[in-house]
């Protein structure tokens, strides 16, 4: 292979190496990672918001045609939430706006992610995987506030 071609390959491969390093840095130093895998069982089909500790919550959230259950989650600012996401029927999406949370809700499986909510605000949860005719109306809400319902 001639030297110019090799130069081009070397430069491209180096850039890919830089990207890989940046990804790994995010995984280990910033804890930005793909979801955690947990073996599925039927108890994950029970929708629940559990306060585990001070400012630490576990939310068992079910996506179903065409809503999320629980549809509204109210937590104080500074909370950390472990979401356990599954579906009761077909595949749904689960995207929390402005938080970079992006998951799939798959029936027969459970997806886990931990999210921090330091600031006040309303975060909408959008379903971004086609799930039938009501798909474009499917939405959930996370309210980060000190007011209880």
């Amino acid at each position: 292979m001639n030297k110019y071609e090799l130069r081009a390959i070397f430069l491209s491969a180096s850039l890919m190496g830089i990207f890989l390093f940046a990804i790994l840095y995010n995984v280990y130093a910033r804890k930005i990672d793909v979801p955690t895998c947990i073996p599925y069982n039927a108890s994950f089909q029970k929708a629940e918001i559990k306060e585990v500790d001070d400012l630490h919550y576990e939310v068992y959230i079910i996506a179903k045609m065409w809503t999320f259950d629980p549809g509204e989650i109210i937590i104080p600012p500074g909370s950390t939430v472990d979401f356990y996401l599954t579906s009761a029927d077909v595949v749904h999406g689960f995207s929390i706006e402005r938080k970079g949370v992006n998951l799939m809700a798959v029936p027969g499986a459970v997806n886990k992610v931990t999210v921090n909510f330091p600031d006040y605000g309303t975060y909408k949860i959008v379903c971004h995987e086609y799930c039938g005719v009501g798909h474009h109306n499917m939405m959930g809400k996370i309210l980060v506030t000190n007011l209880t319902n």
């Binding site: 110019y4 130069r7 081009a8 430069l11 491209s12 850039l15 830089i18 990207f19 940046a22 995010n26 910033r30 930005i32 402005r98 938080k99 970079g100």
Partner: protein
């Protein structure tokens, strides 16, 4: 005419010279620009993720 044949031969020789001595310096420049663009796009999305996390 004889000079037209010679002109054609000179043109062909010129073309083969170009081909024989060709070095893809312009393409390397293009690849470097391409990789810079790739880095710009990629790191923009990367930074957006860090902001939102």
């Amino acid at each position: 005419m004889w000079y037209k044949t010679t002109l054609r031969e000179m043109e062909n020789d010129h073309q083969s010279e170009i081909e024989k001595n060709f070095k893809p310096k312009g393409t390397i420049a293009f690849i470097v620009l391409l990789l810079i663009l790739a880095a710009m796009v990629w790191f923009s999305v990367y930074n957006l993720q860090i902001e939102r996390h």
